[in-house]
């Protein structure tokens, strides 16, 4: 464990999960060949003010997704209930999900991803939102993993196949890509469902 090493440093007194996360990512081991495909559900599309509602993720090792080794946690926003986005996400409406403090969710997430390569559809948004939460709860901490965006990968693939392609962003929404690659959406608008669908998409286009 890297705990003692970090204790002696001048860095703030981070929890063990964060210290482990840094060590994994700082060491000379390089990145692991594993991918973590993630998706977040939030109350708004604006990173600066969205409430993070849930994070879902699956791991890909050797082109294989282990159902058991998936990640799906829900965040207690501290607000009593209805936000504009509830209808889409049905997270709060169902009321059955066990919600956790944002800090605990973030730590569990760091532990889960380790030094895997992160993959998401429109990754800038999900990574940006998680980074905003990290800096609010653990100042100075942000995701340092390599990141791949499935929308970008799809565009690159298309441009490789056809250099003169006219780019139309509408063709690269998750729904459009799932349809094009004949992936039946598992359960849209749940973080884990979308993460799984994105994982299948990633396997097909990577």
């Amino acid at each position: 464990m890297g705990f003692k090493f970090w204790q002696k440093s001048t860095k703030p007194d981070y929890p063990e999960e964060i210290l482990d996360y840094f060590e994994l990512n700082n060491s000379d081991k390089g990145v692991s060949g594993d991918f973590v495909v993630l998706d977040t559900e939030a109350s708004s599309l604006r990173i600066d003010r969205a409430d993070l509602l849930s994070v879902g993720a699956v791991k890909i090792k050797n082109d294989s997704v282990s159902v058991k080794d998936s990640f799906h946690l829900f965040i207690d926003t501290g607000k009593s209930g209805m936000t504009a986005n509830v209808e889409i996400h049905e997270i709060m409406a169902s009321g059955k999900e066990h919600k956790m403090e944002p800090k605990k969710v973030l730590l569990a997430f760091l532990k889960y991803i380790g030094n895997s390569i992160l993959v998401a559809q429109h990754a800038r948004y999900d990574i940006g939102l998680i980074n905003r939460y990290l800096s609010e709860h653990f100042p100075g901490v942000r995701l340092v993993n390599q990141v791949l965006d499935t929308a970008d990968l799809a565009i690159q693939k298309d441009q490789r196949d056809n250099p003169d392609l006219k780019f139309n962003p509408q063709n690269y929404s998750l729904d459009a890509l799932l349809e094009r690659y004949k992936i039946e959406p598992l359960e849209r608008h749940t973080a884990l469902g979308d993460a799984y669908s994105t994982a299948l998409l990633f396997l097909k286009i990577k």
Partner: protein, 636 residues
């Protein structure tokens, strides 16, 4: 922990056999532990000879071919369809993979850990049966017994009673000496409230049987006096059968011999009488009533109407899962009775119209599937007439008479629901209403000049079966056929080649074997692709073995299994496959009210597809076998 991925996987797999037989909680537990594997086109899920992985695989999407690497060649063993399991043999045995699993297309596979799957398998009887029956991809079919077993348990009590061995007889055994008077015998039979008795000689040998009907008709009718010895009214046509056979055996025997009582022996000693009365109590919709109606019919209209009862009879017993060979024998017996009656009517009608019956013997023969005793549904009629030699002067009139006879019978059968043969292979056609020597020449021509058309004829005509008239004519034709084949062995190579024309359908995958053109574009040709190849192979192998008298495909394979012990297994597989396919065809035919020949692929349930696919395996094996045996690779 259950999550939405595992519950979606569970929702998906539970739709496919054998998971439809597994409790939902167990499916969920299995899905929670699943791995979702992705393969690009051309990748292998596992390699041949690779150590078995601790998973069983389920193809979610894509196409996987199970290939065997044999002498640097890849041999396709099976194509795995979406929703199917593979890697089963390695799972069951723990041995390395015997095939490779090749992704013919980009594929998504669920891998379920054996640590979870095996305990479920071991505790679930339906699941064990599924694998025992060889229903998963790449599994060698270990026979269809397991499926029958499954069906049997689902079937009604009536079905069970057909297969159940008869161990007891309900009627008391009454034996009398030949010297006893009719009066004494009548008293005895009344006292024991039976309806038949056996007449035994001094040595204890049964010499005759006397039934209620004999007392009524012969004594009541004044043929005998009550003081006469019993032998005067006994019937000496004794059909005996050992005790302990399945009920169906007795039923068929009575139907075929047209008797109402059977003498039952135990260790060859007279044991008792088995009568139809005792059957009526046991069987619903019994075949006897139809048969008697046909025999008692006094008009053509009546005769034709009875045939319709056969359809409901067939439907009922198919649902009861009565063994198909029993059922087809029952149907054949009924059809034969109908044909015989139609011939009698035609002879009588011709006589009334002053067509004098020529003074020469004739025989009516059934051809094709009817000759093979394999007609279940009313399909086409194929039949012919053989008549004896006459002087040249007589020939025209004689032929004209038999053509007239043939036409009338053809028309009657048509009214009774048997379609006219589209190729006009019917007794009313002058081409197929021939003297015995003309027939011999025909057969000789087909055998010595085996052109395409001749081979087609051979596959229909060589399955001829005697129905009515002089059996001697048919026996003469038998003899001729046997000799001709013996001295023209090359004919068998042509016939064998013909039997391998339609390659065995290996899979339903991607409509691989759907008819490519015509009205049945979306259909699977069950007769052409599966039943006919099996019947053709049985025929050529039996002819080769010198057996020309067995016509029924199942019996041919049973004969072959007896003859060639080293290939017994494949022949027995063929028997089971053939019965299963016939059953399937009849059920489909009844469901769609047609001949059952063409089946819309989309309507075949997943389970039936797997069952059917396994039934195709023996076709493939047999085709390979005869290619070697007749060296068809070197033969053009």
């Amino acid at each position: 922990m259950a999550n939405i991925i595992s519950s979606k996987i569970a929702d998906f797999i539970i739709r496919f056999p054998p998971f439809d037989k597994v409790a939902r909680e167990e499916i969920i537990r299995l899905s929670e532990e699943a791995e979702v594997l992705y393969f690009k086109k051309g990748q292998l899920v596992f390699q041949q000879k690779e150590k078995a992985k601790p998973f069983i695989y389920f193809l979610k999407e894509g196409e996987i071919l199970l290939n065997e690497n044999r002498d640097k060649k890849k041999v396709l063993i099976d194509a795995c369809d979406e929703g199917e399991l593979f890697g089963v043999r390695a799972m069951l045995t723990g041995n390395p993979y015997v095939f490779e699993a090749f992704c013919q297309e980009e594929s998504l596979v669920y891998a379920f850990p054996l640590s979870i799957f095996k305990p479920i398998l071991e505790s679930n009887k339906d699941l064990s049966l599924f694998f025992a029956a060889g229903l998963a991809s790449g599994q060698k079919p270990s026979g269809f017994q397991a499926i029958y077993q499954q069906n049997k348990e689902a079937g009604g009590a009536d079905f069970l009673s057909w297969q159940r061995p008869v161990e007891e007889l309900s009627e008391p055994l009454i034996c009398v000496k030949p010297t006893v008077s009719i009066e004494e015998a009548a008293r005895e039979i009344t006292a024991k409230s039976s309806n038949a008795l056996i007449v035994k000689d001094e040595q204890g040998k049964a010499v005759g049987i006397v039934t209620d009907t004999d007392f009524r008709a012969k004594v009541g009718g004044g043929i005998a006096l009550i003081s006469d010895p019993i032998t005067k009214i006994m019937s000496i046509q004794l059909i005996s059968k050992e005790l302990g056979l399945p009920l169906a055996e007795y039923v068929i025997s009575m139907l075929k011999q047209n008797v109402k009582h059977l003498l039952i022996t135990k260790n060859e000693e007279v044991y008792g009488i088995f009568s139809q009365q005792s059957l009526f109590s046991q069987l619903q919709l019994n075949p006897f009533s139809i048969l008697y109606s046909i025999e008692a019919a006094d008009s053509l209209e009546k005769l034709c109407s009875y045939r319709n009862e056969v359809a409901s009879f067939l439907k009922y017993y198919l649902q009861q899962n009565l063994k198909i060979s029993v059922l087809s024998q029952l149907i054949t017996t009924i059809n034969d009775a109908l044909i015989k009656k139609a011939i009698k009517f035609a002879i009588a009608a011709l006589e009334e119209e002053k067509y004098l019956k020529p003074d020469v013997d004739f025989a009516w023969i059934s051809l094709g599937s009817e000759g093979r005793e394999e007609q279940l549904l009313q399909t086409d009629q194929d039949n012919a007439i053989i008549f004896g030699e006459v002087d040249a002067a007589q020939l025209n009139y004689t032929r004209e008479y038999f053509i007239q006879l043939g036409r009338r019978v053809n028309d009657t059968l048509h009214q009774a629901g048997f379609e006219y043969c589209p190729a006009n292979m019917m007794a009313g056609n002058p081409d197929w209403c021939l003297t015995i020597s003309e027939w011999e020449k025909r057969f000789q021509g087909w055998i010595r000049t085996p052109e395409k058309q001749a081979l087609l004829m051979a596959t229909i005509f060589f399955d001829y079966r005697y129905i009515y008239g002089d059996q001697g004519l048919v026996e003469r034709l038998d003899k001729h056929l046997k000799t001709e084949i013996k001295s023209n062995r090359i004919f068998l190579n042509y016939l064998a080649k013909n039997a391998t024309q339609n390659p065995a359908p290996l899979s339903f995958f991607k409509n691989l074997i759907v008819e490519r053109s015509g009205a049945h574009k979306e259909d699977f040709d069950l007769k052409g692709r599966a039943l006919m190849p099996l019947a053709d192979i049985a025929r050529v192998l039996c002819l080769e073995a010198g057996n020309i008298t067995i016509k029924n495909t199942v019996e041919r394979y049973l004969f072959l299994a007896q003859q060639d012990k080293s290939r017994k297994e494949v022949f027995i597989d063929a028997v089971q496959a053939y019965e299963l396919l016939q059953h399937f065809r009849a059920s489909e035919g009844i469901r769609n009210d047609d001949s059952g020949r063409f089946i819309p692929i989309k309507e075949i349930s997943k389970f039936d597809r797997q069952v059917l696919r396994n039934a195709f395996e023996p076709i493939y094996a047999l085709q390979q076998m005869i290619e070697l045996k007749f060296q068809l690779n070197y033969f053009n």
